[in-house]
């Protein structure tokens, strides 16, 4: 405890502002309260809704199994807070410790937590993006609008981008028996996150479920009719598709524009923070009153060479939010590092896909259990002779074991026998990740930045 009792005063009657009222913001706020913060808590969110859960939006909501307004996140505790929903934060004055809001108001803080997350990357051509029938899927409003149009029974849906979100949308369309075309710049669906070998399995899965999958192509333009409704999409191979709905699933953009010029180390790749979730300023000096968590954060991970990881993962958002909140109320020695091992899941075409670690760092792949042909398998990714990631198709119960291998930097390929080892598990193969300089929909784990041991520093201003 500092001699001046600052933390005690902060806990008793300090002011904490959380900007970003989604999963990470909510879980952080709850943690702040359960760890004894009794002061003023302000929750700022640009959407008009109380915190809700996003994974169902591309699954159950599109299938009509649940409605968008039934996705509110369960509350762990009754949360006393001043909610500023529907009001985006527009600026930050680090010196005056003030957050500017879209309605012109300013909120002062003693400690600030930024959990502004990401938004769907829009179709780059503004005029085409504005055509009726062109959607993205990130928010509850997006899901409501898209679901409504799916119910109307479109003739064909075009999904641009076969990452996890795009693939889940295509899966929902097929389950609704709607014809769907998927256009993917890479060689296969999920290729950025899981590599070409596993991507090929995902491609088979899509085609078998009747998806018109086009890989290695770009959508070069969308065309509207006289009423401004989308009617055609032109592809780089010269072909065209005639959808009445287009869903743009080209990954995410980090919500950091509001921090431009604030002096905080925020840019298109997110907000850099230390392992304790404290934000860096643009000078590379760590702040002591601004914390970051969730999709917008980039933090160094000791397991992965201290590279800065940005993770768009549900579990990461929860874990990092809890760590950030804990650290906001702590003296230095009591702080905890955020050392979550990356993990995510997806369900598509009747298959449960789960992953741990960072498969996209892997160069080699070993199918240690099951078989690719049966689409039930465990794939282990190797990087520099160690296990760096794993993926399962309908074999998720084994994952904790592989997570342990990753945590203990176990050698790759694993030398021991397991149950359900097949001939293809005898040796590893190249994992076939695309050249990172070739753009795809992008993996949900990205590596960037420099290790703390690296003294060089490059600052690139944000290009929005």
């Amino acid at each position: 405890m500092p001699a001046d009792g600052y933390l005690e005063r902060l806990k008793r009657d300090g002011r904490i502002v959380v900007v970003g009222a989604s999963l990470a913001g909510l879980r952080a706020a709850e943690t702040l309260r359960t760890e004894g913060f009794a002061g003023t808590l302000t929750m700022v969110g640009d959407e008009p809704y109380e915190p809700y859960d996003r994974p169902p939006l591309s699954k159950g909501v599109l299938l009509g199994r649940t409605t968008p307004d039934h996705t509110a996140l369960p509350r762990r505790t009754a949360l006393e807070a001043d909610w500023r929903l529907g009001t985006a934060a527009t600026g930050l004055d680090m010196a005056a410790k003030r957050v500017r809001l879209a309605d012109g108001e300013e909120v002062e803080y003693d400690r600030l937590l930024i959990t502004t997350g990401v938004r769907a990357r829009p179709w780059p051509h503004e005029g085409e993006a504005g055509l009726d029938g062109v959607f993205v899927l990130r928010t509850r409003d997006d899901a409501t609008a898209l679901h409504k149009r799916l119910v109307d029974g479109p003739r064909r849906v075009l999904v641009i981008g076969a990452g996890f979100t795009g693939s889940e949308i295509a899966s929902a369309c097929r389950e609704r028996d709607i014809p769907v075309t998927v256009a993917e710049r890479g060689a296969a669906p999920l290729v950025g996150a899981l590599g070409g070998v596993v991507g090929a399995v995902a491609a088979e899965l899509q085609r078998e479920h009747g998806v018109d999958l086009r890989t290695g192509v770009m959508v070069t333009g969308l065309e509207g009719d006289s009423a401004g409704r989308v009617r055609a999409a032109h592809l780089s191979d010269g072909s065209s598709v005639e959808p009445d709905i287009v869903v743009v699933a080209l990954g995410a953009t980090r919500n950091t524009e509001w921090l431009a010029g604030s002096g905080l180390g925020a840019g298109p790749r997110g907000i850099a923070c230390d392992a304790g979730c404290r934000a860096f300023d643009i000078r590379g000096i760590v702040t002591d009153d601004i914390f970051v968590a969730g999709d917008v954060a980039r933090s160094p991970h000791p397991l992965f060479g201290y590279q800065f990881l940005s993770l768009e993962h549900w579990g990461n958002a929860v874990s990092q939010a809890e760590t950030a909140a804990h650290n906001m109320l702590c003296a230095s020695v009591d702080r905890r590092p955020h050392m979550w091992v990356p993990a995510f899941w997806s369900s598509q075409f009747g298959v449960n896909i789960k992953s741990v670690g960072v498969p996209s760092m892997g160069t080699e792949l070993l199918i240690s259990q099951g078989s690719l042909a049966e689409r039930r398998f465990v794939g282990v990714y190797g990087y520099q002779d160690r296990v760096i990631g794993a993926v399962t198709f309908d074999q998720a119960r084994w994952l904790p074991f592989y997570e342990h291998l990753i945590e203990t930097t176990a050698p790759f390929p694993p030398s021991f026998p397991t149950v359900d080892r097949r001939p293809e598990g005898a040796r590893s193969v190249p994992a076939e990740f695309p050249d990172p300089s070739v753009p795809t929909h992008g993996p949900t784990v990205t590596l960037s930045g420099y290790s703390p041991a690296d003294r060089r520093m490059t600052f690139t201003p944000g290009r929005h």
């Binding site: 259990q369 074999q395 119960r397 084994w398 074991f401 021991f416 026998p417 397991t418 149950v419 359900d420």
Partner: protein, 417 residues
């Protein structure tokens, strides 16, 4: 040691009523090598091994048998597997065979194919419970096992499989004999017991085979009909596979549920303030049953796993082919994992117990067992007026693996309608 190894002490009948102090001793050595068995008792290590793909459930991979006689502790079905005509059920198989059979069985039991099967049995379970309690004479000594917890799960399995009502009593008879073989009485002639077991098993098998044939021709909405007429991406089940699966559902779903309910009532009678709360609030049964599965799990240990490779864990090496025993009941009381682990506390927020195991072999019937226990305990709490234990501890069955009272004598003032 005069008392013999810890393992032998745990198996000894005198310790059946309270093995927990021995489990605490066991946890001092997370991986204990005794009597050629490797006994793992701490939460983290048990959980880790339940998810380790180097651990096999197929005893054909075991090359170093334990030097301890588990003859009376195991499901006799296992012991006779070698000579029996039925193929091993999925509890004794590894992937991919395990996965295939379990998937096939699940198509008639749970999501995604039958998401409502268990939920829709709620009304029927309530009716069976109500009838059983209604049949109890509340004025004298009640044996809760014989009069309630024992007949309840067999009836449920009959309804689930689709055994016609008129055949239920025959089915109960076979189930009794099979269960008795798990609980040898002192001084009983093992040859006679074995003969009775074999006869019951054969008769039950023939009965089920006939019923399967009948359901193939004339499918109903029950599980046996669905399993008999399966034809999906995983193919179908042969009659032998189906018989073996049905026998597994009967044995694994019966004794365990009896013990869950009996242990539950015993625990409630030892904690009258919780019983009182349950009477006022039947919804308490949900967290209460979870805590019960931690506190008094019906399956105390998983004794039949083996290792496909040397496994290093907790500073020890379990060699390939070893006989591996995972003591889930000890793990459930690991103070490193659960605060104040020897206290029964239905309000515990973090109760991720291993009562149903974990990993690919985690209890298939868990959703049904949960519902059975929740309904049974909340109804007993509601209807028995001032219930009390007549013997504490009660007399236990001899089985150390599937541990529970043989009888639970109780009394009450009245039985509410």
């Amino acid at each position: 040691m005069t008392q013999g190894s810890l393992l032998r002490q745990i198996l000894r009948y005198e310790n059946r009523h309270d093995p927990y102090p021995l489990y605490a001793e066991l946890r001092k050595t997370p991986v204990l090598n005794e009597d050629d068995a490797y006994v793992v008792s701490t939460y983290r290590e048990v959980l880790t091994l339940l998810h380790d793909p180097r651990v096999s459930s197929d005893t054909r991979n075991m090359t170093r048998s334990a030097g301890i006689d588990l003859q009376d502790q195991q499901d006799p079905q296992d012991q006779q597997e070698g000579e029996a005509t039925l193929p091993p059920s999925f509890i004794r198989l590894d992937p991919p065979e395990h996965d295939r059979l379990r998937r096939l069985t699940n198509t008639s039991f749970g999501p995604p194919h039958e998401p409502h099967r268990v939920h829709e049995m709620r009304g029927e379970l309530g009716a069976i419970v109500s009838d059983l309690i209604g049949g109890i004479d509340g004025t004298g000594r009640i044996d809760l096992v014989g009069q309630f917890s024992y007949p309840f799960p067999v009836t449920v399995i009959c309804r689930l499989l689709g055994v016609p009502r008129e055949d239920e009593s025959r089915f109960h008879g076979w189930a009794d004999t099979l269960a008795a073989s798990l609980d040898p009485m002192p001084g009983e002639d093992p040859t006679e017991r074995n003969r009775a077991f074999q006869q019951a098993r054969t008769e039950l098998g023939m009965y089920l085979a006939g019923l399967i044939e009948e359901r193939r021709r004339n499918p109903q909405k029950d599980m046996l009909s669905e399993l008999a007429t399966l034809n999906g991406p995983d193919g179908s089940m042969s009659t032998m596979e189906l018989l073996s699966t049905a026998a597994l559902l009967l044995v694994a779903g019966h004794e365990t549920t009896v013990n869950l309910i009996t242990n539950g009532m015993l625990t409630l009678l030892r904690n009258p303030q919780v019983l009182e709360r349950l009477r006022a609030d039947p919804d308490l049964s949900v967290p209460l049953v979870e805590e019960l599965l931690r506190f008094e799990p019906p399956v105390q240990l998983v004794p039949n796993r083996t290792t496909l490779a040397d496994i290093e864990i907790a500073g020890a090496t379990i060699p390939k082919g070893a006989s591996l025993w995972l003591v889930v009941a000890a793990a459930n009381r690991d103070p490193l994992r659960f605060e104040d682990p020897d206290r029964f506390d239905p309000d515990r927020e973090d109760v991720r117990h291993l009562g149903f195991g974990s990993g690919v072999h985690s209890c298939f019937g868990a959703p049904l067992a949960r519902l059975e226990a929740q309904i049974a305990l909340s109804e007993l709490a509601r209807r028995l007026v001032n219930p009390r234990l007549l013997e504490d501890p009660p007399e236990y069955r001899s089985n150390a693996v599937l541990r529970g009272p043989r009888h639970l004598p109780i009394a009450c003032d009245d039985i509410r309608p």
